[in-house]
Symmetry: C2
Subunit: 200 residues, 2 copies
DNA sequence: CAAATGACAAAAATCAATATTTGTCATTTG
DNA sequence: CAAATGACAAATATTGATTTTTGTCATTTG
């Protein structure tokens, strides 16, 4: 697209646009090459395979999910409020991406199955943001936790139904928000001061 | 199989066996008819379609999941112990079914997508068993909850990663048990006495 | 000589002709 | 006459021949 200079970045730009337009299953590296007006062999000088290209696109795409969340995580507001905001935002972004653009949803599904490493890194990033908020909450004496990373993992896992794309079909149910509220209340009363006595 | 008498039950028996043997995608109603040594038209006198037959098989199959759980739910032990046992059992059964028999796993996936009503009824049954245990827990002054059904739904939803078949691929991860333990501890401290102050 | 090309083999997807399966129903059977 | 049959049309799946796509690399180009 950006004339004459061919960088990995410009390839990713073109690739992402082509993925969007043709859908993830149907796009070939020849299509991407055509969009850039180069031969498809050229793409292979920059990315070792079609999978590598798709993973790179995915990574950038997931970064655009985690960046605005990082901003929320870094705020100064009370940790309980902030954690709620953070999850509302996460859920909103995921729902939007998945329901708004069905073609992209298929990509996401394919990725989740095949680009395991990229997704795992993304999840790790998200969990560490949650851990940050929880740690702040402990300092503010709102939350009680000996190990904020462990607590963060637990919170992430307990809310999986509301943000993991495999559950996307359930998100259009009318009571999905109240289901989330219920789970949220349960989690929050587990996380909040005063500490519950040790579990059995 | 059972000679000469053809009841809906005997058809289900045969159908289930054929499903097991040939896998869910490949079995035809002709196969089921052959196993019973009748014409395939006969099957249609008892079940209005192949889908209806498959749903009926599924329903019986899911009942064999919920029956042993109902037994646990009805025990007299302390509610917290019993709830833990109940979930361990649920998870064990699901893992076994899904990982033990890959063909059957495919059936389960197909069902979850297509036989929505049957699965929904099953989930409702499970949630009502949890509600029963929680209610006992409140009476025993172990748990604190104003609405046991709502709490039950929350607990079920929060543990979805560990029993919903769409997450089966994650179950072979080495840390799945400790992930469950973490979520369980979080949930339990949310559920347990003394009641946390009202949520924001 | 660094970067891009395009001819090429191997792997994967498409397509249309063929075969199987589903579901119906008029006829047969006990 | 109630229950089962099997011939049938429509829908669906299979198959294998053909095309497209992926990935490599010796050659070309600026």
């Amino acid at each position: 697209m950006t004339d004459s200079v061919l960088t990995p970045e410009s390839i990713l730009d073109a690739a992402e646009e082509v993925f969007r337009k043709y859908g993830p299953t149907k796009t070939t590296v020849v299509d991407v090459a055509r969009a850039l007006e180069v031969s498809h062999g050229t793409i292979y000088r920059h990315f070792s395979s079609k999978l590598a290209l798709r993973d790179a696109v995915t990574q950038r795409w997931l970064q655009r999910v985690s960046a605005p969340l990082a901003a929320i995580a870094a705020e100064k507001s009370p940790a309980d409020e902030r954690l709620r905001q953070w999850f509302e935002q996460l859920i909103m972004i995921k729902h939007q991406k998945v329901l708004g653009d069905p073609e992209l949803f298929a990509t996401y599904q394919a990725i989740a199955e095949q680009a395991r490493e990229v997704v795992e890194a993304h999840v790790e990033e998200l969990v560490s943001q949650i851990a940050q908020i929880i740690e702040d909450g402990v300092a503010q004496e709102i939350f009680c936790s000996t190990d904020s990373l462990t607590a963060a993992q637990a919170v992430f896992n307990a809310t999986v139904r509301f943000h993991h794309p495999v559950h996307a079909a359930e998100w259009s149910a009318p009571n999905i928000q109240s289901d989330f509220d219920q789970v949220w209340r349960l989690i929050m009363s587990g996380l909040r001061m005063p500490c519950a006595s040790s579990a059995t």
